[in-house]
Every structure is written in C-alpha cells, then in structure tokens.
Symmetry: C2
C-alpha cells in the first residue's frame, strides 16, 4: 500500500517555492511585471562561481587519475585521505585536535544533520532548536522519530533566550540543534552566548545524569562579515557534533558534499563516526561522490569569492533602515530578517510580491512578524530592489 | 543518549570485509602468501575503466558549463533534462512509455531501493525477497520499518520457487523485491519466470483487495552473457518500481548515481516520484551530484567495456566444472555461486583462504552450502586462481 506518511507530506507545499512560482507564472507570465523587475529573494542559492581550483582539480582527476580510484567506491565513512585533509584544515584553522577517525563524509549539511540526530536520539526523544530556524529541521527530526521543540526567538539580537531555554530543557531533551551564523536571521552567536550555552548544558547533564549533545549546523561558517571569524562551536563544548556543507563556502550546493565532525574530547567520536556508517546503510546513502570528495579535499582551505554577500548586506541594511525597516544587522550568511511592516508577515509578503519583491514570511522559520531576504544575487539587482521596497513602503504603509 | 539501535548494528561485522582483511593482514602480512597469490574474489567492485566519454563530458562541463548550473542545486527529484534523457533511453531500449515525471534520481541502487521500500510499505508491513539475496536488503527494509522475509532458493536454476512463494505471499505482504541478473547467483530471470510472477501477483491482488508492488533491483541489467538482453521487468507488471544504478554499467560505483523509474501504467507514477522527494527530506539526502547527473545523462546509452566479465565467467565456469564443482551457469553479473565442497560453506571458505582464495560463504546471502566468487578482476588473475582452486580440491577434498 502506498505510504500514507509520505503521501501526506506532499500536502505541505513549500511557501518559499510557491512565492517564487507566483512571481514567474502570474506576475511575469501575466504581463504585470517585466522579468528584470522581479527581485527573487526567496531562495538561498549561492550566486558566486565555484573557485577555479575546484574545477581544475576535477579535470585533472578525470585526465590523469586512476579511474578505479577517482570513480570507485568510497569506503562507507568517506575516503581516508579526504577525511585527513579536512581534519588537518580544521585543526589549523580552529585549534581542534581531530583525526580522520572523527570525520564522516556526508551529502551536505542535510545529510550530516539527519545522521547527527539519529546518532544521539531514539524515537520519542526531544531535541530543541531555536527560532528562527531552518524549516527542514522538522523533517530531519521526524525522519529519526525525534520530537523537535522550538525555543522562542530573542528578537532583540537573535542570540539565545536563556530563560525560555532553561524552561524547555527537561530531562527528556537529548540534544540541542543550533545554527550559527543563522538562517534566516543572519545572527552570529557570540563567544559569550556559546560559553553560556555550554555551561548550562554541563550543569543540566550533571542534574539529569545523562549526556546532552550539541548538534551544530554550520553551512554559513565561512560567510562572516566585518573581518570577523565565526567562533568554532565545538571548542566550547565537548559533546559537539559539527555538521558542515561546502555548498556555500565553495558555491557547490548541487555537489552534495559536507561532513560530520565529532569532537574527540567527547571520548566517543570514533564510535559515533562508525555508527554514521550504519545509519547510512538503512537509508541507502553510502557516501558523497568520490570525485567530488577528492576535489573538495584539495581546496578545503579556500572559498569562492564571498565578498559580494557583505556588499549586498550593507546596501540592503542601509537602504532598508533608511526606509524605516527595523532589523538586526547580520553577522554573516546571505540573509536579512527585518520586521514586517504589519503584524501578519504573510500579508506583508503578499503586498511586496506585487512590487516584484519575492520575500519569505518569518512564520516559515518559527518567527512570525518578520520576513527573510535571501540576498545571494547580483549587486545591481539589490540596488534596483531598493526602489521597489521604497514604492512598497510609500504606497502601502504611509 | 547515543542510539542503541545503530550502536548494536556495529556488532554485526561484514563477513565479506573480514575475509578480505584476513587475507591482507594475516596471510600476506605474516609472510604466508605473496601479494600476487591472493585472489580476492570477495568484493563486487567493477574492474573495468569508465567510458572515456564520461570523463570528457565532466571536463567539458567544468571548462565551458555555467558553474551555477553545473554545480548548482538540482531540483529535489533530479535535473529535468537528465530525467528526460534517461526516460528516452529506456523507452528506446525497452519499449516503455516513461516521461521524466516517472523518474527520480538517486544515490545509486541503494538509495533507489531505500526509497522504493518506503514508498509502498508502512512500518510492520512485510516485504518478500528471494534467496540468494544481497544482504543489504535487510538494513534497507529495517530502515523503513518493514519486515523482510526470504523465500528459499530454487537451487536447481536460481529462478523462483513458486510453491514456497505462494505459501509466504499472505495479505500482509505489500511488496516483492527481486534482483535479476542476481547477486550472488548470476541467475537471469527468464521471460517465463517474470510472466508467471506477474500473473501470480495480479491474482493475489484480486484475492487480497490491495495492490502488491514489485521492486526490481537492476544494477546488473547491462551485464548479460551469450549475446542476450535482460528481459525488462517493468514490462511484465504495471506496479513495478525499477531501481537502477550506473555503478556497474559505467564503472562509476563511487559516483553514487542511479534512479527509480515507476511504471506509468500503475497510474500513480507521478505521485510516487513526488513522494520520493518527501522521503529524501527526512533522510537529508537531496540528490546525486549535479555534475554527475549531467554527465551520466549524456552517456546513458553506452556502457564501459564489460566483455571481460563474460570472459572471466567462462574461464571460471569451465575450470571449476573440470575440478568437480557444481554450479548454475550465470546469465549475467560478475558473480558465480558454486556449491561448496562440504556442507558448511563457512568451513569451506576458511580452507580456501589458506590457498589465497578469498570467497564469501552463501550463508551471507541466505543460501547456506554455496559460496560466491566475485570475478570482477583481471583475467590473468582468474586464470592463475584456477591453480589455487586445483590445489584446494586435491589437498583438502580428495
């Protein structure tokens, strides 16, 4: 019999895609807007090209590599030399002490998170995350049978509302899932926030008599503004599972490559990494592509030219502030998360789309009253969008 | 808390890998055998290089492709042009009527099977497969919460034991999982077998008042001997979900690329393909690599030079028959599945390994008393292995 579970999931269509399709099909298709006057800020797709070194490495592997290695089976935990190179890079950059035994190669951050949740929860366990949050955390948790509960947002700065967290952090909670820099708020957790979180978790571990794991979703780790570096979450707490994707740093989201890195100070990193291999068996996912693993390992210290994201952020932050929008200045990512100009962010976004502005209501991310701008687009388009925002404000909200 | 489920799975170590490691570490490492005298027939790894056209296409995509498309997000069901090209190829080759809407791109056959089982079972449902069978079917079924039951082998020809099947085909069964050509027996289901299977399923569907799905695992579809072509399973039964991998046909097992193709005559192929996208969300697997999808689509009508497998099969079949081994002549794959020379195939394989012959006991595949030879290796090695088989027979079994 066809599975009712997955059939039912089809009903919950993605608001993000619906907005985007409406703009193309109705507004442009119906002749109401010229294609160049649609500002699609809905999708978080990198907009800068991959580093040339990545493509050159792939070509070289095709040209001169042993085809049985380049396209051959990867061991189920990932290619050992690849895991070693990434461990070395993390150790150099963040002062960690990973060996390759602490790393497991995944299909991007999505694969990493789905594995991490299965590692440290059993069906029925609770896992906490923090609004605003990436909505796919819901399916990842559900896939593992875990219950995802959402700590409300601290809308002053989108750091952590510790009062609310303490209330929700009961013995049923086996793991916390954080995302810094954050999609959709752009907030970068400060060292203070991470230190306070770690100390609370250690205290609760003692009180509950069981471990609490920290799952850290880090695809935006390399997109940080104002010359800063993102504090490396795992340095603050031994039971951290870092979930990384090269999608944004190298602009290769379609290559589905990332990793799980378990802090060796947990004392069980080797066990958890080996368990990842077992989790893969049940979902039929064996490994990322071998050639992509090999190519990524050789450029893992570099990034695409990410400077356009900071330029776009500054233009939008200044332009929208001048128009009267309230928002927290992002510490990283390619998202802005301003307050909508009316209580119902969905209604606001429906007005905005008539001006060609494709935005996503914060309700999608567990933070009603806000909206997300994904400004991973070219700067000229960002500049021109400010006119559309101006008309939206003047014609609808004055 | 660390998941007991996945921790427990670590205990069940792979017999296949253990054999292979013993040969390298103990026999070669201990100086008992020269490396060239180890005949590792344990792993089903393709041994022929990828077609040059595949590598050239990848290089071309890196060189001249739009990096935002080549390395960009694939839609969750796969890149539409890729799905179209594969549908066209299947229609041309097998007289099917697929559209791209009937295809879903996966991480090889493993990903395809894990999705297919989730599509048509709910936790607790039964799914039947046939001995001898690929042992990873166990984890795929367990991952979906389904109960895998195994119909005993027809050891005369490794077709289907219909008497045993009829007994086990109760209303609790929602799906059958077949694999032709078969790993490990090499058997190719005849048109008669498939027609008889289809007619039994149609009869039982009427009797039970519910659909029964046929999941067809087809990674060896292109490795067929004696100039034959594998009958295309889906032509025989409308509710067929074909699970394919390019790993063997193109010799790219590390690239993790394959697909699910749902027979449009089922009337629900579009629904099932869309549900595959939802299944992916929960396991954090979004799609195979974009560049690999694009490259595979352009060479999907061709294969690597697979002729070495037939040559190896004939050499081994003739050589082992002359030594007194009993076996069914394979119709395809790169496996032979002879009867062991004593009742306990594990004991037989332990003796064989002392002669450098790394074989896998049939118990692993649900068929005790037999052993698997994976002859995907170079022909010289196959020829030399016959001496080792000869010594094994003379010294241990005469």
């Amino acid at each position: 019999m066809i599975s009712e579970t997955y059939k039912a999931m089809l009903a919950g269509k993605s608001v993000i895609r619906e907005m985007s399709e409406y703009a193309q099909n109705v507004l442009v298709g119906g002749g109401l807007l010229r294609p160049e006057d649609v500002f699609d800020f809905s999708l978080g797709n990198p907009s800068v090209p991959v580093p040339q070194a990545f493509n050159r490495r792939i070509e070289e592997l095709c040209e001169n590599g042993d085809p049985m290695l380049v396209h051959g089976y990867s061991p189920s935990l990932g290619i050992p030399s690849v895991r070693q190179k990434i461990a070395d890079s993390l150790n150099r950059r963040f002062g960690m002490h990973y060996t390759r035994e602490d790393l497991f190669m995944t299909s991007g951050a999505a694969g990493a998170l789905a594995h991490a949740i299965r590692l440290v929860t059993s069906p029925g366990d609770e896992i906490l995350t923090f609004a605003p949050y990436f909505p796919e955390y819901g399916p990842y948790a559900a896939g593992a049978g875990a219950r995802l509960r959402v700590v409300p947002a601290d809308t002053r700065d989108f750091q952590i509302r510790f009062d609310a967290l303490e209330q929700m952090l009961t013995p049923r909670v086996q793991a916390l899932l954080i995302n810094t820099p954050n999609n959709p708020s752009g907030a970068l957790y400060s060292e203070d926030t991470l230190a306070r979180l770690a100390s609370l978790l250690l205290e609760k571990e003692r009180a509950f008599g069981h471990e609490i794991w920290l799952i850290s979703d880090e695809p935006y780790r390399e997109i940080v503004f104002d010359g800063k570096t993102a504090p490396y979450v795992s340095r603050f707490y031994p039971r951290t599972i870092s979930c990384y994707s090269f999608s944004k740093s190298l602009s290769v989201p379609g290559e589905r490559i990332g990793y799980v890195a378990v802090n060796p100070e947990s004392g069980v990193s080797g066990l958890l990494v080996n368990m990842c291999g077992q989790i893969s068996r049940g979902i039929g996912h064996n490994c990322p592509s071998s050639i992509i693993q090999l190519a990524v390992a050789d450029v893992c210290d570099s990034t695409a030219d990410l400077s356009v994201y900071e330029k776009n952020m500054n233009l939008l932050f200044d332009g929208l502030s001048a128009l009267g929008f309230e928002m927290v200045r992002p510490g990283g990512t390619f998202y802005l998360f301003p307050k909508a100009l009316e209580e119902d962010a969905g209604a606001f976004c429906k007005k905005a789309i008539q001006y060609g502005l494709v935005l996503v209501p914060g309700d999608t991310f567990g933070a009603p009253g806000y909206f997300r701008i994904a400004f991973c687009t070219d700067t000229q388009k960002v500049v021109r969008s400010l006119d559309a925002f101006g008309r939206l404000v003047r014609e609808q909200y004055r």
